[in-house]
Protein backbone atom coordinates (compact mmCIF):
# COMPACT_ATOMS: atom_id res chain seq x y z
CA UNK A 1 0.00 0.00 0.00
CA UNK A 2 2.80 2.29 0.88
CA UNK A 3 4.40 1.68 -2.46
CA UNK A 4 1.25 2.61 -4.33
CA UNK A 5 0.84 5.69 -2.18
CA UNK A 6 4.37 6.80 -2.87
CA UNK A 7 3.99 6.17 -6.56
CA UNK A 8 0.77 8.14 -6.54
CA UNK A 9 2.42 11.06 -4.78
CA UNK A 10 5.36 11.08 -7.17
CA UNK A 11 3.05 10.95 -10.13
CA UNK A 12 0.91 13.82 -8.94
CA UNK A 13 3.92 16.01 -8.12
CA UNK A 14 5.30 15.21 -11.48
CA UNK A 15 2.09 16.14 -13.21
CA UNK A 16 1.74 19.37 -11.29
CA UNK A 17 5.25 20.37 -12.16
CA UNK A 18 4.67 19.61 -15.81
CA UNK A 19 1.41 21.48 -15.78
CA UNK A 20 2.73 24.51 -14.04
CA UNK A 21 6.08 24.84 -15.67
CA UNK A 22 5.30 23.81 -19.18
CA UNK A 23 1.68 23.50 -20.15
CA UNK A 24 0.34 26.75 -18.82
CA UNK A 25 3.14 28.92 -20.18
CA UNK A 26 2.67 27.29 -23.58
CA UNK A 27 -0.96 28.22 -23.57
CA UNK A 28 -0.01 31.84 -23.18
CA UNK A 29 2.99 31.70 -25.44
CA UNK A 30 5.31 32.62 -22.60
CA UNK A 31 8.65 31.05 -21.96
CA UNK A 32 10.04 30.49 -18.48
CA UNK A 33 13.59 30.28 -19.64
CA UNK A 34 14.21 26.73 -18.49
CA UNK A 35 14.99 25.50 -21.96
CA UNK A 36 17.41 28.37 -22.50
CA UNK A 37 19.38 27.32 -19.45
CA UNK A 38 19.36 23.73 -20.66
CA UNK A 39 20.66 24.76 -24.05
CA UNK A 40 23.45 26.82 -22.52
CA UNK A 41 24.62 23.88 -20.43
CA UNK A 42 24.38 21.62 -23.44
CA UNK A 43 26.42 23.90 -25.65
CA UNK A 44 29.13 24.21 -23.03
CA UNK A 45 29.29 20.44 -22.59
CA UNK A 46 29.54 19.79 -26.31
CA UNK A 47 32.27 22.38 -26.69
CA UNK A 48 34.24 20.74 -23.95
CA UNK A 49 33.73 17.34 -25.56
CA UNK A 50 34.89 18.63 -28.92
CA UNK A 51 38.07 20.03 -27.42
CA UNK A 52 38.79 16.74 -25.71
CA UNK A 53 38.28 14.83 -28.92
CA UNK A 54 40.53 17.15 -30.86
CA UNK A 55 43.25 16.86 -28.28
CA UNK A 56 42.97 13.12 -28.38
CA UNK A 57 42.85 13.11 -32.14
CA UNK A 58 46.18 14.83 -32.49
CA UNK A 59 47.80 11.99 -30.69
CA UNK A 60 46.23 9.36 -32.88
CA UNK A 61 45.83 11.21 -36.17
CA UNK A 62 42.26 10.08 -36.58
CA UNK A 63 40.88 10.85 -40.00
CA UNK A 64 38.80 13.99 -39.88
CA UNK A 65 35.59 13.75 -41.79
CA UNK A 66 34.85 16.84 -43.76
CA UNK A 67 31.20 16.36 -44.08
CA UNK A 68 30.40 17.97 -47.35
CA UNK A 69 33.49 17.41 -49.49
CA UNK A 70 33.28 14.46 -51.80
CA UNK A 71 35.48 11.45 -51.49
CA UNK A 72 36.72 11.42 -55.03
CA UNK A 73 38.43 14.05 -57.07
CA UNK A 74 35.93 15.09 -59.68
CA UNK A 75 36.62 16.39 -63.10
CA UNK A 76 33.57 18.45 -63.82
CA UNK A 77 34.46 19.41 -67.39
CA UNK A 78 31.60 19.03 -69.85
CA UNK A 79 31.29 16.13 -72.23
CA UNK A 80 33.08 17.87 -75.09
CA UNK A 81 36.27 18.45 -73.18
CA UNK A 82 36.18 15.06 -71.53
CA UNK A 83 35.87 13.28 -74.84
CA UNK A 84 38.36 15.16 -76.98
CA UNK A 85 40.91 12.78 -78.33
CA UNK A 86 43.82 12.94 -80.66
CA UNK A 87 42.00 13.41 -83.90
CA UNK A 88 39.04 15.49 -84.91
CA UNK A 89 35.69 14.79 -83.46
CA UNK A 90 34.61 11.52 -84.95
CA UNK A 91 33.77 8.53 -82.92
CA UNK A 92 36.73 6.81 -81.41
CA UNK A 93 37.27 3.62 -79.52
CA UNK A 94 38.38 5.64 -76.56
CA UNK A 95 35.09 7.49 -76.22
CA UNK A 96 33.90 4.68 -74.08
CA UNK A 97 36.46 5.73 -71.45
CA UNK A 98 34.60 8.92 -70.67
CA UNK A 99 31.31 7.19 -70.06
CA UNK A 100 32.80 4.37 -68.08
CA UNK A 101 34.73 6.76 -65.88
CA UNK A 102 31.62 8.83 -65.23
CA UNK A 103 29.69 5.67 -64.51
CA UNK A 104 32.25 4.35 -62.05
CA UNK A 105 32.46 7.73 -60.37
CA UNK A 106 28.71 7.58 -59.87
CA UNK A 107 29.04 4.15 -58.33
CA UNK A 108 31.63 5.32 -55.85
CA UNK A 109 29.81 8.46 -54.96
CA UNK A 110 26.68 10.02 -56.30
CA UNK A 111 24.97 13.19 -55.31
CA UNK A 112 21.63 11.66 -54.61
CA UNK A 113 22.16 8.57 -52.47
CA UNK A 114 24.18 10.46 -49.92
CA UNK A 115 21.28 12.86 -49.42
CA UNK A 116 19.18 10.04 -48.07
CA UNK A 117 21.41 9.22 -45.16
CA UNK A 118 22.02 11.42 -42.19
CA UNK A 119 24.55 14.18 -42.45
CA UNK A 120 27.96 13.34 -41.04
CA UNK A 121 29.10 15.61 -38.26
CA UNK A 122 32.49 17.19 -38.16
CA UNK A 123 32.77 16.68 -34.45
CA UNK A 124 30.96 14.19 -32.31
CA UNK A 125 28.01 15.34 -30.26
CA UNK A 126 28.02 12.56 -27.65
CA UNK A 127 25.22 10.61 -29.26
CA UNK A 128 26.00 7.03 -30.13
CA UNK A 129 24.02 7.20 -33.32
CA UNK A 130 26.29 9.81 -34.84
CA UNK A 131 29.48 8.08 -33.89
CA UNK A 132 31.14 7.18 -37.14
CA UNK A 133 34.81 7.79 -36.83
CA UNK A 134 35.34 8.66 -33.24
CA UNK A 135 37.09 6.18 -31.12
CA UNK A 136 37.71 5.88 -27.44
CA UNK A 137 39.53 8.97 -26.23
CA UNK A 138 39.55 9.25 -22.49
CA UNK A 139 37.72 8.03 -19.39
CA UNK A 140 36.38 11.48 -18.68
CA UNK A 141 34.73 11.66 -22.07
CA UNK A 142 33.20 8.26 -21.57
CA UNK A 143 31.84 9.39 -18.21
CA UNK A 144 30.23 12.42 -19.77
CA UNK A 145 28.78 10.20 -22.44
CA UNK A 146 27.33 7.83 -19.86
CA UNK A 147 25.91 10.79 -17.98
CA UNK A 148 24.42 12.00 -21.20
CA UNK A 149 22.77 8.67 -21.82
CA UNK A 150 21.27 8.66 -18.35
CA UNK A 151 19.99 12.20 -18.68
CA UNK A 152 18.52 11.58 -22.07
CA UNK A 153 16.83 8.29 -21.44
CA UNK A 154 15.81 8.56 -17.80
CA UNK A 155 15.06 12.22 -17.36
CA UNK A 156 14.28 13.74 -20.70
CA UNK A 157 12.51 10.86 -22.36
CA UNK A 158 9.72 10.39 -19.79
CA UNK A 159 9.23 14.13 -19.65
CA UNK A 160 8.96 14.38 -23.37
CA UNK A 161 6.65 11.44 -23.72
CA UNK A 162 4.35 12.96 -21.10
CA UNK A 163 4.32 16.23 -22.93
CA UNK A 164 3.68 14.63 -26.27
CA UNK A 165 0.82 12.66 -24.80
CA UNK A 166 -0.71 15.83 -23.38
CA UNK A 167 -0.15 17.72 -26.55
CA UNK A 168 -1.82 15.23 -28.80
CA UNK A 169 -4.77 14.54 -26.55
CA UNK A 170 -5.34 18.23 -26.05
CA UNK A 171 -5.25 18.71 -29.77
CA UNK A 172 -7.78 16.02 -30.47
CA UNK A 173 -10.11 17.03 -27.66
CA UNK A 174 -9.73 20.72 -28.33
CA UNK A 175 -10.38 20.57 -32.02
CA UNK A 176 -13.34 18.28 -31.58
CA UNK A 177 -14.86 20.71 -29.08
CA UNK A 178 -14.21 23.70 -31.26
CA UNK A 179 -15.65 21.84 -34.18
CA UNK A 180 -19.01 21.81 -32.43
CA UNK A 181 -19.28 25.57 -32.63
CA UNK A 182 -21.00 27.26 -35.55
CA UNK A 183 -18.72 28.78 -38.18
CA UNK A 184 -17.65 32.27 -37.43
CA UNK A 185 -14.94 34.46 -36.04
CA UNK A 186 -15.09 32.92 -32.59
CA UNK A 187 -14.57 29.47 -34.01
CA UNK A 188 -11.59 30.58 -36.04
CA UNK A 189 -10.02 32.36 -33.12
CA UNK A 190 -10.51 29.40 -30.81
CA UNK A 191 -9.21 26.90 -33.33
CA UNK A 192 -6.11 29.00 -33.80
CA UNK A 193 -5.59 29.11 -30.06
CA UNK A 194 -5.97 25.37 -29.72
CA UNK A 195 -3.64 24.67 -32.62
CA UNK A 196 -0.95 27.02 -31.43
CA UNK A 197 -1.05 25.82 -27.85
CA UNK A 198 -0.86 22.17 -28.77
CA UNK A 199 1.91 22.74 -31.25
CA UNK A 200 3.94 24.63 -28.71
CA UNK A 201 3.49 21.78 -26.26
CA UNK A 202 4.56 19.27 -28.86
CA UNK A 203 7.60 21.31 -29.78
CA UNK A 204 8.62 21.45 -26.16
CA UNK A 205 8.16 17.72 -26.03
CA UNK A 206 11.05 17.56 -28.45
CA UNK A 207 13.04 20.26 -26.71
CA UNK A 208 12.79 22.31 -29.78
CA UNK A 209 14.43 25.67 -30.09
CA UNK A 210 13.31 27.48 -33.15
CA UNK A 211 14.49 30.83 -34.45
CA UNK A 212 12.14 32.56 -36.79
CA UNK A 213 13.64 35.11 -39.13
CA UNK A 214 11.84 37.77 -41.12
CA UNK A 215 8.50 37.34 -39.47
CA UNK A 216 7.14 40.12 -41.62
CA UNK A 217 6.99 37.70 -44.54
CA UNK A 218 4.92 35.13 -42.73
CA UNK A 219 2.52 33.50 -45.19
CA UNK A 220 -0.80 35.27 -45.54
CA UNK A 221 -4.28 33.90 -46.01
CA UNK A 222 -5.03 32.75 -49.51
CA UNK A 223 -1.43 31.98 -50.32
CA UNK A 224 0.60 28.83 -50.64
CA UNK A 225 3.52 28.14 -48.38
CA UNK A 226 6.32 25.95 -49.74
CA UNK A 227 9.27 24.68 -47.76
CA UNK A 228 12.03 22.12 -48.00
CA UNK A 229 11.23 18.83 -46.35
CA UNK A 230 13.36 16.99 -43.86
CA UNK A 231 10.96 15.26 -41.55
CA UNK A 232 7.34 15.27 -40.37
CA UNK A 233 8.48 17.63 -37.62
CA UNK A 234 8.70 20.38 -40.23
CA UNK A 235 4.94 20.67 -39.99
CA UNK A 236 5.11 21.09 -36.25
CA UNK A 237 7.77 23.74 -36.53
CA UNK A 238 5.85 25.82 -38.99
CA UNK A 239 2.51 25.55 -37.27
CA UNK A 240 3.96 26.79 -34.01
CA UNK A 241 4.20 30.20 -35.53
CA UNK A 242 1.04 30.37 -37.55
CA UNK A 243 -1.85 28.30 -38.72
CA UNK A 244 -1.83 26.55 -42.02
CA UNK A 245 -4.16 24.38 -43.98
CA UNK A 246 -2.46 21.13 -44.61
CA UNK A 247 -2.55 18.94 -47.64
CA UNK A 248 -1.99 15.26 -47.48
CA UNK A 249 -3.24 11.75 -47.64
CA UNK A 250 -5.74 10.35 -45.24
CA UNK A 251 -3.95 7.96 -42.90
CA UNK A 252 -5.22 5.32 -40.59
CA UNK A 253 -4.42 4.89 -36.94
CA UNK A 254 -3.35 7.71 -34.68
CA UNK A 255 -2.56 10.03 -37.58
CA UNK A 256 -6.05 9.46 -38.95
CA UNK A 257 -7.63 10.38 -35.62
CA UNK A 258 -5.61 13.57 -35.48
CA UNK A 259 -6.47 14.41 -39.06
CA UNK A 260 -10.18 13.91 -38.59
CA UNK A 261 -10.20 15.98 -35.43
CA UNK A 262 -8.23 18.81 -37.01
CA UNK A 263 -10.46 19.09 -40.00
CA UNK A 264 -13.46 19.74 -37.74
CA UNK A 265 -11.99 22.92 -36.42
CA UNK A 266 -10.55 24.39 -39.57
CA UNK A 267 -10.60 23.29 -43.17
CA UNK A 268 -7.62 21.17 -44.14
CA UNK A 269 -7.41 19.38 -47.45
CA UNK A 270 -7.14 15.67 -46.88
CA UNK A 271 -7.20 13.34 -49.83
CA UNK A 272 -8.06 9.72 -50.17
CA UNK A 273 -5.19 7.72 -51.57
CA UNK A 274 -7.05 7.11 -54.82
CA UNK A 275 -7.79 10.78 -55.29
CA UNK A 276 -4.11 11.71 -55.02
CA UNK A 277 -3.44 9.98 -58.30
CA UNK A 278 -5.89 12.25 -60.09
CA UNK A 279 -3.87 15.40 -60.49
CA UNK A 280 -6.68 17.47 -61.88
CA UNK A 281 -8.86 16.74 -58.91
CA UNK A 282 -6.08 17.72 -56.55
CA UNK A 283 -5.38 20.93 -58.42
CA UNK A 284 -9.05 21.80 -58.50
CA UNK A 285 -9.54 21.39 -54.79
CA UNK A 286 -6.45 23.39 -53.99
CA UNK A 287 -7.54 26.16 -56.36
CA UNK A 288 -10.89 26.34 -54.63
CA UNK A 289 -9.20 26.59 -51.31
CA UNK A 290 -6.96 29.50 -52.12
CA UNK A 291 -9.69 31.32 -54.00
CA UNK A 292 -11.40 31.78 -50.67
CA UNK A 293 -9.31 34.56 -49.17
CA UNK A 294 -10.52 33.83 -45.69
CA UNK A 295 -9.02 30.39 -45.65
CA UNK A 296 -5.64 29.69 -44.15
CA UNK A 297 -2.56 29.43 -46.37
CA UNK A 298 -1.85 25.96 -47.71
CA UNK A 299 1.34 24.23 -46.63
CA UNK A 300 3.02 22.12 -49.30
CA UNK A 301 6.37 20.34 -49.49
CA UNK A 302 7.13 20.18 -53.21
CA UNK A 303 10.06 17.81 -52.91
CA UNK A 304 7.60 15.08 -52.13
CA UNK A 305 9.90 13.20 -49.79
CA UNK A 306 12.26 13.72 -46.87
CA UNK A 307 15.79 14.83 -47.72
CA UNK A 308 18.61 14.99 -45.22
CA UNK A 309 18.73 18.79 -44.94
CA UNK A 310 22.02 19.29 -46.76
CA UNK A 311 20.42 19.99 -50.11
CA UNK A 312 17.22 20.80 -51.88
CA UNK A 313 16.02 18.46 -54.58
CA UNK A 314 13.71 18.95 -57.48
CA UNK A 315 10.49 20.73 -56.69
CA UNK A 316 7.56 19.02 -58.32
CA UNK A 317 5.74 21.40 -60.55
CA UNK A 318 2.23 20.49 -59.40
CA UNK A 319 2.16 22.97 -56.54
CA UNK A 320 3.29 25.75 -58.83
CA UNK A 321 0.55 25.27 -61.36
CA UNK A 322 -2.23 26.23 -58.99
CA UNK A 323 -1.58 29.92 -59.26
CA UNK A 324 -1.71 32.29 -56.36
CA UNK A 325 1.15 33.73 -54.35
CA UNK A 326 3.91 31.43 -53.21
CA UNK A 327 5.50 32.13 -49.84
CA UNK A 328 8.80 30.26 -49.67
CA UNK A 329 10.15 29.17 -46.33
CA UNK A 330 13.59 27.71 -45.69
CA UNK A 331 14.11 25.35 -42.76
CA UNK A 332 17.59 24.42 -41.62
CA UNK A 333 18.26 22.14 -38.68
CA UNK A 334 21.40 22.29 -36.62
CA UNK A 335 22.70 18.73 -36.72
CA UNK A 336 24.88 19.21 -33.66
CA UNK A 337 22.00 18.74 -31.25
CA UNK A 338 19.97 16.09 -32.94
CA UNK A 339 19.46 14.68 -36.35
CA UNK A 340 15.97 15.45 -37.55
CA UNK A 341 16.10 13.62 -40.86
CA UNK A 342 13.55 10.83 -41.23
CA UNK A 343 14.98 7.97 -43.22
CA UNK A 344 11.67 6.27 -43.90
CA UNK A 345 13.29 3.16 -45.31
CA UNK A 346 15.31 2.69 -42.16
CA UNK A 347 12.98 3.77 -39.37
CA UNK A 348 9.27 3.70 -39.01
CA UNK A 349 7.39 6.57 -37.43
CA UNK A 350 7.49 5.29 -33.87
CA UNK A 351 11.21 4.56 -33.78
CA UNK A 352 11.80 7.89 -35.46
CA UNK A 353 9.89 9.70 -32.74
CA UNK A 354 11.80 7.81 -30.09
CA UNK A 355 15.06 8.86 -31.67
CA UNK A 356 13.86 12.43 -31.73
CA UNK A 357 12.92 12.30 -28.10
CA UNK A 358 16.25 10.88 -27.04
CA UNK A 359 18.36 13.44 -28.86
CA UNK A 360 19.65 16.46 -27.06
CA UNK A 361 17.34 18.92 -28.70
CA UNK A 362 16.01 20.00 -32.03
CA UNK A 363 17.45 23.33 -32.99
CA UNK A 364 16.50 24.93 -36.23
CA UNK A 365 16.22 28.17 -38.11
CA UNK A 366 13.21 29.14 -40.12
CA UNK A 367 13.49 31.89 -42.68
CA UNK A 368 10.37 33.42 -44.09
CA UNK A 369 10.98 34.84 -47.54
CA UNK A 370 9.26 37.50 -49.61
CA UNK A 371 6.37 36.17 -51.67
CA UNK A 372 6.91 35.13 -55.28
CA UNK A 373 4.54 34.81 -58.18
CA UNK A 374 4.86 33.25 -61.57
CA UNK A 375 6.18 35.75 -64.07
CA UNK A 376 5.09 36.32 -67.65
CA UNK A 377 6.42 33.71 -69.98
CA UNK A 378 7.60 31.46 -67.20
CA UNK A 379 6.28 27.96 -67.08
CA UNK A 380 5.63 25.96 -63.92
CA UNK A 381 8.95 24.12 -64.05
CA UNK A 382 11.01 27.29 -64.34
CA UNK A 383 9.02 28.93 -61.58
CA UNK A 384 9.56 25.88 -59.40
CA UNK A 385 13.30 26.04 -60.02
CA UNK A 386 13.39 29.72 -59.21
CA UNK A 387 11.69 29.17 -55.88
CA UNK A 388 13.95 26.21 -55.18
CA UNK A 389 17.10 28.28 -55.75
CA UNK A 390 15.80 31.01 -53.49
CA UNK A 391 15.17 28.55 -50.68
CA UNK A 392 18.52 26.84 -51.16
CA UNK A 393 20.40 30.11 -51.02
CA UNK A 394 18.57 31.31 -47.93
CA UNK A 395 19.00 28.09 -46.02
CA UNK A 396 22.60 27.53 -47.03
CA UNK A 397 21.75 24.24 -48.75
CA UNK A 398 23.11 22.94 -52.02
CA UNK A 399 20.80 22.58 -54.97
CA UNK A 400 20.32 19.39 -56.90
CA UNK A 401 18.33 18.89 -60.06
CA UNK A 402 17.49 15.32 -59.16
CA UNK A 403 14.07 14.12 -58.19
CA UNK A 404 13.71 13.01 -54.59
CA UNK A 405 11.57 10.17 -55.87
CA UNK A 406 14.80 8.51 -56.96
CA UNK A 407 14.83 7.13 -53.45
CA UNK A 408 12.18 4.71 -54.54
CA UNK A 409 11.81 4.71 -58.29
CA UNK A 410 14.09 4.55 -61.28
CA UNK A 411 15.12 7.67 -63.06
CA UNK A 412 13.22 8.70 -66.17
CA UNK A 413 14.62 7.80 -69.54
CA UNK A 414 14.44 11.40 -70.72
CA UNK A 415 17.59 12.19 -68.78
CA UNK A 416 19.49 9.43 -70.50
CA UNK A 417 18.24 10.67 -73.86
CA UNK A 418 19.72 14.06 -73.15
CA UNK A 419 23.15 12.58 -72.69
CA UNK A 420 22.75 10.52 -75.83
CA UNK A 421 21.68 13.59 -77.74
CA UNK A 422 24.75 15.51 -76.61
CA UNK A 423 27.04 12.72 -77.63
CA UNK A 424 25.42 12.22 -81.02
CA UNK A 425 25.69 15.90 -81.77
CA UNK A 426 29.39 15.61 -81.27
CA UNK A 427 30.12 12.68 -83.49
CA UNK A 428 27.61 13.35 -86.21
CA UNK A 429 26.36 16.89 -86.06
CA UNK A 430 29.73 18.48 -86.63
CA UNK A 431 29.61 17.58 -90.26
CA UNK A 432 32.90 15.80 -89.97
CA UNK A 433 31.24 12.51 -90.71
CA UNK A 434 33.14 10.63 -93.35
CA UNK A 435 30.67 8.87 -95.54
CA UNK A 436 33.21 7.23 -97.84
CA UNK A 437 34.95 4.35 -96.28
CA UNK A 438 38.05 4.70 -98.44
Amino acid sequence: MEGADLAGKILSTWLTLVLGLILLPSAFGVSLGISEVYMKILVKTLEWATLRIEKGAEKESVLKNSASVGIIQRDESPMEKGLSGLRGRDFELSDVFYFSKKGLEAIVEDEVTQRFSSEELVSWNLLTRTNINFQYISPRLTMVWVLGVIVRYCVLLPLRVTLAFFGISLLVIGTTLVGQLPDGRLKNWLSELVHLTCCRICVRSLSGTIHYHNKQYRPQKGGICVANHTSPIDVLILTTDGCYAMVGQVHGGLMGVIQRAMVKACPHVWFERSEMKDRHLVTKRLKEHIADKKKLPILIFPEGTCINNTSVMMFKKGSFEIGGTIHPVAIKYNPQFGDAFWNSSKYNMVSYLLRMMTSWAIVCDVWYMPPMTKEEGEDAVQFANRVKSAIAVQGGLTELPWDGGLKRAKVKDTFKEEQQKNYSKMIVGNGSLNLDSD
Partner: protein, 195 residues
Protein backbone atom coordinates in the same frame (compact mmCIF):
# COMPACT_ATOMS: atom_id res chain seq x y z
CA UNK B 1 31.60 2.66 -28.63
CA UNK B 2 29.41 3.46 -31.54
CA UNK B 3 27.18 1.80 -34.01
CA UNK B 4 29.49 2.28 -36.95
CA UNK B 5 32.98 1.44 -35.94
CA UNK B 6 35.79 2.68 -38.05
CA UNK B 7 37.75 -0.51 -37.83
CA UNK B 8 38.85 -2.19 -40.99
CA UNK B 9 38.32 -5.43 -39.16
CA UNK B 10 34.71 -5.15 -40.24
CA UNK B 11 35.64 -5.85 -43.81
CA UNK B 12 35.80 -9.55 -44.53
CA UNK B 13 39.07 -10.78 -45.95
CA UNK B 14 40.58 -7.32 -45.87
CA UNK B 15 44.22 -8.31 -46.20
CA UNK B 16 43.66 -10.25 -49.39
CA UNK B 17 41.64 -7.46 -50.88
CA UNK B 18 44.33 -4.93 -50.05
CA UNK B 19 46.99 -7.00 -51.70
CA UNK B 20 44.94 -7.68 -54.78
CA UNK B 21 43.59 -4.21 -55.38
CA UNK B 22 46.28 -2.00 -53.92
CA UNK B 23 43.78 0.28 -52.23
CA UNK B 24 44.87 1.89 -49.00
CA UNK B 25 43.16 0.98 -45.75
CA UNK B 26 41.39 4.33 -45.64
CA UNK B 27 40.11 4.04 -49.19
CA UNK B 28 38.87 0.53 -48.57
CA UNK B 29 36.96 1.73 -45.55
CA UNK B 30 35.35 4.47 -47.58
CA UNK B 31 34.40 2.02 -50.27
CA UNK B 32 33.04 -0.38 -47.69
CA UNK B 33 30.74 2.29 -46.28
CA UNK B 34 29.65 3.03 -49.82
CA UNK B 35 28.97 -0.65 -50.47
CA UNK B 36 26.87 -0.81 -47.32
CA UNK B 37 24.99 2.34 -48.29
CA UNK B 38 24.15 0.93 -51.72
CA UNK B 39 23.04 -2.36 -50.20
CA UNK B 40 19.79 -0.93 -48.93
CA UNK B 41 18.18 -4.14 -47.81
CA UNK B 42 21.35 -5.19 -46.02
CA UNK B 43 21.73 -8.43 -47.90
CA UNK B 44 25.51 -8.40 -47.76
CA UNK B 45 25.83 -8.31 -51.53
CA UNK B 46 24.69 -6.04 -54.34
CA UNK B 47 22.26 -6.95 -57.07
CA UNK B 48 21.77 -5.23 -60.39
CA UNK B 49 18.77 -3.36 -59.03
CA UNK B 50 20.91 -1.82 -56.29
CA UNK B 51 23.26 -0.35 -58.88
CA UNK B 52 20.46 0.70 -61.17
CA UNK B 53 19.05 2.87 -58.43
CA UNK B 54 21.97 5.26 -58.74
CA UNK B 55 20.52 8.13 -60.74
CA UNK B 56 23.76 9.28 -62.32
CA UNK B 57 24.48 5.75 -63.45
CA UNK B 58 21.02 5.14 -64.86
CA UNK B 59 21.30 8.15 -67.16
CA UNK B 60 24.72 7.08 -68.36
CA UNK B 61 24.32 5.70 -71.89
CA UNK B 62 26.68 2.86 -71.05
CA UNK B 63 25.11 2.33 -67.64
CA UNK B 64 23.91 -1.18 -68.33
CA UNK B 65 27.25 -2.29 -69.75
CA UNK B 66 29.05 -0.91 -66.72
CA UNK B 67 26.69 -2.71 -64.40
CA UNK B 68 27.29 -5.92 -66.39
CA UNK B 69 31.00 -5.68 -65.68
CA UNK B 70 30.26 -6.21 -61.99
CA UNK B 71 28.45 -9.47 -62.71
CA UNK B 72 30.78 -11.62 -64.77
CA UNK B 73 29.87 -15.14 -65.75
CA UNK B 74 26.16 -14.58 -65.41
CA UNK B 75 26.20 -14.21 -61.64
CA UNK B 76 23.46 -12.15 -60.04
CA UNK B 77 25.25 -10.99 -56.93
CA UNK B 78 28.42 -9.11 -56.27
CA UNK B 79 30.01 -9.14 -52.82
CA UNK B 80 32.38 -6.52 -51.49
CA UNK B 81 35.54 -8.08 -52.89
CA UNK B 82 34.01 -8.32 -56.36
CA UNK B 83 32.83 -4.75 -56.05
CA UNK B 84 36.25 -3.45 -55.11
CA UNK B 85 37.99 -5.54 -57.72
CA UNK B 86 36.13 -3.74 -60.50
CA UNK B 87 36.73 -0.35 -58.91
CA UNK B 88 40.42 -1.19 -58.58
CA UNK B 89 40.75 -0.93 -62.34
CA UNK B 90 40.22 2.78 -61.92
CA UNK B 91 42.78 3.34 -59.27
CA UNK B 92 45.40 5.82 -60.48
CA UNK B 93 48.53 4.14 -61.75
CA UNK B 94 51.15 3.93 -59.03
CA UNK B 95 54.11 6.22 -59.31
CA UNK B 96 56.62 3.56 -58.38
CA UNK B 97 57.48 2.07 -61.72
CA UNK B 98 60.40 0.36 -60.08
CA UNK B 99 61.18 -3.28 -60.32
CA UNK B 100 58.11 -5.35 -59.82
CA UNK B 101 58.26 -8.95 -58.85
CA UNK B 102 57.54 -10.73 -62.13
CA UNK B 103 55.96 -13.64 -60.26
CA UNK B 104 53.20 -11.36 -58.95
CA UNK B 105 50.19 -10.91 -61.21
CA UNK B 106 49.93 -7.57 -62.87
CA UNK B 107 48.17 -5.00 -60.66
CA UNK B 108 44.52 -4.46 -61.48
CA UNK B 109 45.08 -0.84 -62.33
CA UNK B 110 47.90 -1.32 -64.81
CA UNK B 111 47.52 0.21 -68.22
CA UNK B 112 46.85 -3.15 -69.79
CA UNK B 113 44.16 -4.00 -67.29
CA UNK B 114 42.48 -0.65 -67.70
CA UNK B 115 42.39 -1.22 -71.43
CA UNK B 116 41.06 -4.69 -70.84
CA UNK B 117 38.20 -3.23 -68.78
CA UNK B 118 37.30 -0.89 -71.63
CA UNK B 119 37.62 -3.74 -74.10
CA UNK B 120 35.11 -5.90 -72.29
CA UNK B 121 32.61 -3.06 -72.38
CA UNK B 122 32.61 -3.53 -76.12
CA UNK B 123 33.08 -7.28 -76.27
CA UNK B 124 29.57 -8.33 -75.38
CA UNK B 125 30.05 -12.09 -75.83
CA UNK B 126 33.48 -12.10 -74.21
CA UNK B 127 35.11 -13.96 -77.06
CA UNK B 128 38.20 -11.76 -77.13
CA UNK B 129 37.23 -9.90 -80.28
CA UNK B 130 35.04 -6.90 -80.95
CA UNK B 131 33.02 -7.81 -83.97
CA UNK B 132 31.43 -5.23 -86.20
CA UNK B 133 28.07 -6.20 -84.77
CA UNK B 134 29.21 -5.67 -81.20
CA UNK B 135 30.66 -2.29 -82.06
CA UNK B 136 27.36 -1.30 -83.64
CA UNK B 137 25.48 -2.31 -80.52
CA UNK B 138 27.66 -0.29 -78.19
CA UNK B 139 27.52 2.70 -80.48
CA UNK B 140 23.77 2.41 -80.54
CA UNK B 141 23.75 2.52 -76.74
CA UNK B 142 25.77 5.71 -76.73
CA UNK B 143 23.73 7.61 -79.31
CA UNK B 144 20.25 6.31 -78.60
CA UNK B 145 17.78 7.12 -81.33
CA UNK B 146 19.53 10.25 -82.49
CA UNK B 147 21.53 8.73 -85.32
CA UNK B 148 20.29 6.73 -88.33
CA UNK B 149 21.30 3.16 -88.95
CA UNK B 150 23.33 4.06 -92.06
CA UNK B 151 25.33 6.74 -90.31
CA UNK B 152 26.04 4.36 -87.48
CA UNK B 153 27.11 1.61 -89.85
CA UNK B 154 29.52 3.85 -91.68
CA UNK B 155 31.05 5.03 -88.42
CA UNK B 156 31.44 1.42 -87.34
CA UNK B 157 32.98 0.37 -90.63
CA UNK B 158 35.48 3.17 -90.51
CA UNK B 159 36.49 2.45 -86.95
CA UNK B 160 36.87 -1.28 -87.42
CA UNK B 161 38.87 -0.77 -90.60
CA UNK B 162 41.26 1.64 -88.95
CA UNK B 163 41.94 -0.63 -86.01
CA UNK B 164 41.84 -3.99 -87.73
CA UNK B 165 45.30 -5.04 -88.79
CA UNK B 166 44.99 -8.68 -89.62
CA UNK B 167 41.91 -8.08 -91.73
CA UNK B 168 39.58 -10.47 -89.95
CA UNK B 169 36.85 -7.85 -89.71
CA UNK B 170 37.05 -7.72 -85.92
CA UNK B 171 39.19 -5.90 -83.40
CA UNK B 172 41.19 -8.13 -81.10
CA UNK B 173 42.57 -6.95 -77.79
CA UNK B 174 46.03 -6.42 -79.25
CA UNK B 175 44.68 -4.34 -82.10
CA UNK B 176 42.61 -2.39 -79.59
CA UNK B 177 45.69 -1.71 -77.48
CA UNK B 178 47.74 -0.73 -80.49
CA UNK B 179 45.20 1.79 -81.75
CA UNK B 180 45.14 3.46 -78.33
CA UNK B 181 48.85 3.39 -77.63
CA UNK B 182 49.18 7.15 -77.73
CA UNK B 183 46.20 7.75 -75.49
CA UNK B 184 46.69 9.01 -71.95
CA UNK B 185 44.85 6.18 -70.26
CA UNK B 186 46.03 7.26 -66.86
CA UNK B 187 44.02 10.42 -66.85
CA UNK B 188 40.95 9.14 -68.63
CA UNK B 189 40.48 5.97 -66.69
CA UNK B 190 41.46 6.92 -63.18
CA UNK B 191 39.44 8.00 -60.20
CA UNK B 192 41.37 9.49 -57.34
CA UNK B 193 39.94 8.91 -53.87
CA UNK B 194 40.61 11.87 -51.60
CA UNK B 195 41.97 11.41 -48.13
Amino acid sequence: MGSRSSHAALIPDVENIRRETGFSQASLLRLYHRFRALDRSKKGYLSRADLQQIGALAVNPLGDRIIDSFFPDGSQRVDFSGFVRVLAHFRPIDDDTGVRDPKQPEPLNSRTNKLRFAFQLYDLDQDGKISRHEMLQVLRLMVGVQVTEEQLESITDRTVQEADEDGDGAVSFLEFTKSLEKMDIEQKMSIRILK
